[in-house]
């Protein structure tokens, strides 16, 4: 599993990666009450706003962590946004994407580097 400075995790799985947000981010946001997902099939560039999430406190965006194609989104989160707080590393993944350049993953942080970042 790799991490971004934007508090996302990426888990390689066959020919694609699964993307979610870290427990640290989920806790900082507070209970999620709204999730808006992109459509599967769209191409995104690193840094694009792809998901909107709202907690009891505020709205935030999840950015595309790398270039690629969104191939699947987790519709269960639309029905039950609180899942993100309950299981951020597991059931509450946000989308799966096929990376344009799979080796881009190498530039992302390892878990210990991410832990250092969040102190």
């Amino acid at each position: 599993m790799k991490f971004t400075e934007e508090h996302e995790w990426l888990e390689p799985n066959d020919d694609h990666v699964i993307v979610g947000i870290t427990p640290h981010a989920a806790e900082a946001l507070g209970e999620l009450v709204f999730v808006e997902l992109p459509e599967a099939g769209i191409n995104v560039s690193k840094g694009d706003d792809v998901v909107v999430i709202e907690s009891v406190k505020a709205a935030s965006d999840i950015l595309a962590p790398l270039d690629g194609e969104i191939i699947e989104v987790n519709e269960a989160l639309v029905e039950n946004p609180a899942l993100v707080n309950e299981d951020p590393l597991g059931a509450a993944w946000f989308f799966k994407m096929k990376l344009t350049t799979p080796s881009d993953m190498d530039e992302l942080m390892e878990e210990d580097e991410y832990k250092e970042l969040i102190g």
Binding site: V56, K57, D61, L63
Partner: protein
């Protein structure tokens, strides 16, 4: 992702923030502390905003609202009526007719008919007790000193905490400490001892639930709060849930829903202006901005504060622009408060719209992230009030 809430609290110096007498208790309870109106305040406890909100609606919640301003007006003549008549120059409220040991909602108005702050006014027999908003208290105190000093001594109380105990089990919990509080009705005020400390207790609050607000000396506040929290039905509640509770209850937040630019009539607070201060009343007008406000009361206003229920799940937060239709270019108003209501299990907002679109059931549109989303003008409160009348 963009973690606004994280970056906000980072790198800010907390050194100049004031602490309430319950600061140590908040930290001990594991509260997340944030700067609010110059104070370091608990925004939530480990339970989280959603569960804190629901715990208040079903049990009882204890809030630290010691950041709010407590002020006493002592009439120089020793007669309540003289302090009441003086204060009536600043508020469009019947202060004179307020019975002893009763409380009433009020607001300071300005020359344009706008609202300078909203407050609670209590007749404590030979003097008036006021509770004002934290962010406005310095300005309020100056305003009263400038305008009331001939008739009153304005005493700013800085050594008392303010606690709120709210929810359907508030009465049972507080009555365990002093059974007398069970006899009080909504907006009654009593001076009594709680946990060995002399307190001023009102049956009031900011959640739409039954409950009490307790003014207690700072040295006794921690022990009283702990005594209340010892009850299994009482949970500590932070500012996060305080905001969602008051919004579900349809109550205005000063600075968001009402401010110096909104009049009480635009804000649909006509109910708070008693007949005796209205046109044709015995003490008609005579308050700051009364010509504008009384004229609006007779002839209406161009815009009005309304409740809004979004059709979808997306919260419409403060600042969200409002439109008459899905395609109209002209913005007609804006959301002033909005969020998710844990009790109604959905989003809710309040905001200002043209009076022609303010009727219950009118469909309007809000623009969120470039998309127009429908919302329906809705009667407030969003959750039924649960007061002990």
């Amino acid at each position: 992702m963009v973690l606004g809430t994280l970056s906000q609290t980072r790198g800010r110096t907390l050194a100049e923030l004031k602490q309430t007498p319950l600061y140590n208790l908040h930290v001990e309870l594991g509260a997340k502390m944030v700067p609010f109106a110059g104070y370091d305040m608990p925004v939530q406890y480990p339970m989280g905003v959603m569960k804190e909100h629901l715990a208040t609606r079903t049990g009882a919640g204890l809030f630290d609202v010691s950041h709010m301003g407590q002020v006493v007006l002592w009439p120089r003549s020793k007669e309540y009526k003289d302090a009441a008549l003086a204060l009536e120059k600043l508020v469009p409220i019947d202060v004179l007719g307020l019975e002893p040991m009763r409380q009433r909602y009020a607001f300071f108005t300005n020359d344009q008919g706008g609202i300078q702050d909203d407050l609670m006014v209590t007749n404590l027999g030979d003097h008036i007790f006021l509770v004002v908003n934290a962010a406005c208290k310095d300005a309020d105190i100056m305003h009263m000193q400038d305008n009331l000093s001939a008739d009153c001594m304005v005493e700013v109380i800085t050594d008392r905490a303010l606690l709120a105990l709210q929810g359907p089990k508030a009465e049972t919990a507080l009555a365990k400490i002093n059974p007398e509080v069970a006899n009080m009705k909504f907006m009654d005020v009593i001076e009594l001892e709680l946990n060995g400390a002399k307190c001023v207790v009102s049956r009031s609050g900011y959640t739409g639930e039954d409950g009490y607000e307790i003014s207690v000396h700072e040295d006794d506040a921690d022990a009283l709060a702990r005594a209340l929290l010892a009850d299994a039905d009482v949970e500590p509640i932070g500012l996060g849930a305080r905001d969602s509770l008051r919004l579900e209850a349809g109550l205005c937040l000063y600075g968001n829903d009402i401010d110096t630019e909104t009049t009480p009539i635009e804000a649909a607070l006509n109910w708070a202006i008693q007949k005796v201060r209205r046109k044709g009343g015995e003490r008609e007008g005579g308050f700051v901005g009364s010509e504008i406000i009384l004229d609006q009361m007779e002839n209406g206003t161009a815009r009005k504060r309304v409740g809004l229920l979004p059709a979808g799940r997306a919260p419409m937060r403060d600042g969200t622009p409002l439109f008459a239709s899905e395609t109209d270019d002209e913005q007609i108003g804006a959301v002033t408060s909005g969020g998710f209501g844990p009790t109604i299990e959905g989003p809710m907002s309040m905001g200002y719209v043209p009076t022609g679109l303010a009727a219950i059931g009118t469909e309007i549109f809000a623009e969120i992230r470039g998309k127009r989303m429908a919302a329906t003008v809705t009667k407030m409160p969003f959750t039924p009030a649960n007061f002990k009348r």
